[in-house]
Amino acid sequence: MTMRRSRTSLIAGIIGWVSAIAMFFPIFWMVVTSFKSEIDAVVPSILFKPTLQGYVEVNSRADYVSFALNSVVESIGSTLLALAIGLPAAYACAFYPGKRTKDLLLWMLSTKMMPAVGVLVPIYLLFRDAGLLDTRLGIVFLFTLSNLPIVIWMLYSFFKDVPTPILEAGRMDGARFWTQMRYILIPISMPGIASTALLSIILCWNEAFWSLNLTASRAGPLSAFIASFSSPEGLFWAKLSAASTLAVAPILVMGWVTQRQLVRGLTFGAVK
């Protein structure tokens, strides 16, 4: 019995690790290339003199910093906004369910199903007329709207796990909404709120439809900055790799940290 177990686990281990290395290889290769000089970068070899040249050149380009700053401001800004709007809504749905709460939640989910490209034209024209093209405000607004259903569903699914007696006790003591929120609900469901925020940041950071179509140099986030390497500038592989590594590193770490809770948000609470 144990013999067979250990043989299965050996085979699973070999397959598991081979697949892990194969899946991770492109990322590994990107990081390796980021430490090469431009001349070494076009030769697929791992024997080279490591250099920080790529990173230095990316950072010396003033625009990298401003694109990175845009990414930070836009993803954190819209995450905070989505939480501010989503928290009360999720609270109402989870703790004061009415006859139509279920329909309401499903309707919110359904707004997420509209393909962005279907409304590209009107959004572009509205943005042009409102002077929102290539502004951080416009992007924050769009990111908030497109993540709001996910944020509400994820918070709802975490709030459902909060034992109601605790809130009831608070209510007996006459605690109003904000007091309940601040002293009971937020502290209890902090891990859930934190992973919701992280998922929202990840989704905003990696967003590449609105940011490519509606921004240029002023409000463009990193995904737009990297896209500019698809022009002849893409010939500078070390620089491309260094910029890419910097752009994905923080999100990769966040993703790894919150993996387990992310599943809940990504599947709208359907898989826990």
């Binding site: 290769w29 004061y96 369910p97 279907g118 790799s241 994905v248």
Partner: protein, 291 residues
């Protein structure tokens, strides 16, 4: 619970979210519909007025539209098959206990967190470049013919990149779903003499079925609008080989400034997505009922 809900007025709590989403749902949609019946080209302000169904007629008789719809279906279908099969495979593998399992799982799921423009450019340049890419280097070393990926097999290349991004998603979901599998049931089946494959087919797969349908539907929503990967690698080419519906609309709207035509195509995209969404909503509705 029903009486208690009257203790508190939930209206003000829900209003901001509902209002914003209502606005987000109605305004752009109404405008898309409106524009789709207009003669409206940003490059030619003289052409205006009601177009009736002309935009739709022109569009539906345009072979390019049908090619791009077909490409969309090929892309979505292939990526779905690849990601679901690999996801189930990884779910079974990572359910076994082996050395460094958690680290290996992290490495497999990593590509999901890479932004689309980065993944596309890394694959295009560092891996698939016909002269200096890693793959061409390996081919030469093995004495095989070098493949010029984006010229010879453009759609296949896009499918590979997009699958690389979405296999981790399926894996993440299905690995989590595996954890709720009833171990005693498995053990009992083993006692009864069930062998590996029949256990997988009769116990594991039925258990994963609901999660697989969730994966399929959520991926459908996202894959219908793949855009960045195409923009930075092939720009829809060569010819129309990798033009999907998203890219077709983008070309109409922001390269040819044909607002009417692009909106009509947008309506078609929305209809396509809604067919998928109808199934998705039904699954989630069932899920809410079970709670």
């Amino acid at each position: 619970m029903a009486t208690r809900s009257r203790d508190m007025r939930t209206g003000p709590l829900l209003a901001p979210a509902v209002g914003l989403l209502l606005f987000w749902m109605i305004v752009p949609l109404a405008l898309t519909l409106w524009f789709s019946f207009q003669r409206y080209n940003l490059q030619n302000p003289l052409v205006t007025g009601f177009a009736g169904i002309t935009n739709y007629k022109l569009l539906l008789s345009n072979a390019r539209l049908w090619v791009s719809i077909l490409n969309t279906l090929v892309l979505v279908g292939s990526v779905l098959v690849i990601t679901v099969i690999s996801g189930v495979f990884f779910a079974v593998i990572f359910d076994q206990d082996f050395w460094g399992r958690n680290v290996a799982r992290l490495l497999v799921t990593a590509p999901f967190f890479i932004m689309p423009t980065v993944s596309a450019l890394i694959w295009k340049n560092l891996l698939m470049h016909p002269v200096n890419g890693f793959f061409s280097y390996v081919s030469r070393w093995l004495g095989l013919p070098v493949v010029d990926w984006f010229v010879q097999v453009p759609m296949f290349s896009i499918i590979m990149i997009v699958s690389w991004q979405w296999v981790p998603f399926a894996t993440l979901i299905l690995v989590t779903a595996m954890q709720s599998l009833d171990r005693e049931q498995l053990e009992a089946a083993r006692m009864d003499g069930a062998k590996g494959f029949s256990m997988f087919w009769n116990i594991t797969l039925p258990h994963l079925q609901r999660s697989i349908s969730v994966v399929v539907m959520i991926e459908c929503i996202f894959l219908l609008s793949v855009f960045a990967e195409i923009l930075v690698t092939t720009s829809g080419g060569p010819g129309l080989a990798t033009t999907n519906l998203s890219y077709f609309i983008y070309m109409r709207a922001l390269l040819q400034w044909d607002v009417g035509g692009a909106s009509a195509a947008g309506v078609i995209a929305i209809v396509l997505a809604n067919i998928v969404a109808a199934f998705l909503i039904r699954t989630f509705a069932k899920n809410l009922e079970r709670e």
